[in-house]
Amino acid sequence: MFSFSMAFDPFLVLICSTGAALGIIWGAMPGLSTTMAMALLVGLSYGMATHVAISFMLGVFTGSVFGGAISATLINIPGTPDAVPTQLAGFPLAKKGEGGLVLGTSITASMIGNWMGILLLVSCVPFILDIALKFASWEVALLALWGVAISGTLTAGEAPLKGWISGWLGLLIALVGREEIHGYERFTFGNRELLLGIPYIPVLIGLFGMTEIFDAISEPSPYVIPQKIGKVFPPFTLIIKYWKSIIRSSFVGLLTGVIPGCGANVATFVSYGVGERFTKKKFSKGDLEGVVCSEVANNANIGGALLPSLVLGIPGSAPTAAFIAALGLHGIVLGPTIDVEQPGLLYFVYGGLIVANVAMYLSAFALIKPSVKLFSLPRELLLPLVTLLCVIGSFAEKMALFDIYLMFGFGLFGYIMRKTGFPIGPMVLGVILGNMADQNLRRAMEVFKGDVIGHILSRPVGIILILIVILTFISGIYRRKQ
């Protein structure tokens, strides 16, 4: 039996807070993603009581989503994929000695994002479900393509073409392996290790972690990680100033969370891009508003992603897929009948999210100074140590040395890309969203067979998405000409 008040039981609060603190540390470590943390917890949670497992997982989920911002801001390596926009907007400020303010703003924005996510989760359930249910394969595929296109536009600066190339190469990389519709092996060169495809965790760690290591060590006089990060608590007026971005990013985070497969990574990229357009600012020069857009969106995304997971049993994101699996181990099947079969569970989850949010906020401020000390070590000492984390992070998911070799290969490739002016972010997003785009586009084509144009024209949401994709490309070309 579950209830809202049960989530505030002192023991469960302690468990949830421990989860949030561990999640922050986990998320801060380059390459150790929220998905990996949640996936590892599936097995671990089996030995826990159901209430304890849910509280702990919600704590880790909330903590690790924020944790990515710490290393993204201080050492220019995002701890999690969704922290890339925070890195873009926050690291230039950290180099100027404002790392503390960036982190303080990130924490506050994350907390606000979580509150907005919880509020919207509770109040907008029927309305958002209506919209999400209109997304069929065709719309999901278009959404994936748009995610890659917009990240290409916003990360490549003056050369959006290079961003799109990077994203499209990422999509192609994701197609390696046995495809799921006919079981045909694509681009595997007969290698058995590639049958299941190229896992995105080694790719992410290689492209972000190893590339940074190769690049930063090769620079005899690189940037200096600031020893003093300035004040941490952001002034209240700062948050008030960005209220429009907070509301906009909350909706972006929630909506992308509701759409199955679109996790916090899509949320932050979209929120960041939309934020740049609305404010007419270039966040990548260092801007707290960019940090707010990114952090509010990825935390609001938690509430959004839990919505289809709890009510439909369809994971809104990869970490919520692990959450569903963990509850399944405890005999809880999520779906439309959840309120009948597990009375009070929804309210227990709402309570757990509130506790996790408060715990994340307090733990994050407590963990900033130790984190700064950790990441303020001499660069020549820190980066080889980060290599060890990259090794463990790549190895952990499948326990295969091949994944470490992949990470090295992608690290080298990322280093070359950086030297030749190609942004790395779109490629990572392409690798993550590639399979989603492939399967959904082919499913849609199968449904549309016979009258493709007629079917496309009969789907208004799809038409809007096509126009958005086209506008993204046109605006990129226009920006280049400007």
């Binding site: 986990w26 590892l40 220019n76 890339v84 873009l88 230039p92 990360t155 490549a156 600066g157 073409l161 190339i165 499209w168 190469l169 192609l172 197609l175 519709i181 006919h182 045909y184 694509r186 681009f187 972000f208 940074e212 290591i213 190769f214 690049d215 060590i217 090769s218 620079e219 005899p220 990548s284 001499p378 020549e380 000492l381 080889p384 140590l385 290599t387 060890l388 984390l389 090794v391 463990i392 190895f395 952990a396 326990m399 040395l401 470490i404 070799y405 090295f408 690290g411 950086r418 030749t420 002016g421 190609f422 942004p423 972010g425 492939d438 586009l441 082919r442 084509m445 199968e446 067979k449």
Partner: protein
């Protein structure tokens, strides 16, 4: 990340059209290869669900993006800049540059750690060798005692943290695995 791109682009903006010229040629060749490969893939349920459909679409787009990059490079005098760079190029001078030397060292040491050490000897020992050698080369201020201590202790701490707290395996056998076997 973009900042890093900018950091790389600014001092040698004039070299970028030449780099773009080479990149575009490689990209177009790669795309043509994928187009041909995709066309050779079977179509068991017709073209609409063919495994090669999406690779064909993506590689065709990539080819045209490569064409765009080539045009932009030619407009920015990419070919003449490439020829100038080629004439001025000297392998010994390039390798002698401090940045290139440091890059080569870190890449070679990391490759040795990943491909030769990991999985063959326990993680802690493999990491000790890697850390001691990289810190010796790059962290001159550290002093040998600090380097030895850090290189020896840190892999043990990390291995213990991940094996015991996070229950995550490390590549190759860990000393803690030996310990567990011995205690059993």
């Amino acid at each position: 990340m973009e900042d890093s791109v900018d950091r790389q682009q600014d001092p040698r903006k004039d070299a970028m059209p030449a780099i773009d010229f080479i990149s575009s040629i490689l990209l177009m060749a790669f795309s043509v290869g994928i187009v041909l490969w995709s066309l050779r893939m079977p179509r068991p349920g017709g073209w609409s669900s063919a495994p090669g459909l999406i690779p064909l679409f993506l590689s065709t787009c990539t080819f045209f993006m490569g064409v765009g990059l080539l045009i932009s490079s030619i407009r920015n005098k990419g070919i003449s800049r490439l020829m100038t760079k080629y004439r001025a190029f000297s392998l010994s001078q390039s390798i002698g540059r401090i940045k290139v030397k440091r890059s080569l060292w870190i890449i070679l040491l990391t490759a040795f750690y990943f491909f030769v050490l990991l999985g063959r000897i326990p993680f802690e020992f493999a990491s000790f060798i890697y850390l001691a050698s990289t810190l010796h080369i790059f962290w001159r201020k550290g002093g040998w005692l600090k380097i030895i201590l850090i290189s020896a202790l840190l892999p043990f701490v990390m291995s213990a943290l991940f094996r015991v707290v996070f229950v995550v395996f490390v590549p190759g056998e860990s000393v803690f695995d030996w310990l567990v076997r011995y205690l059993k």
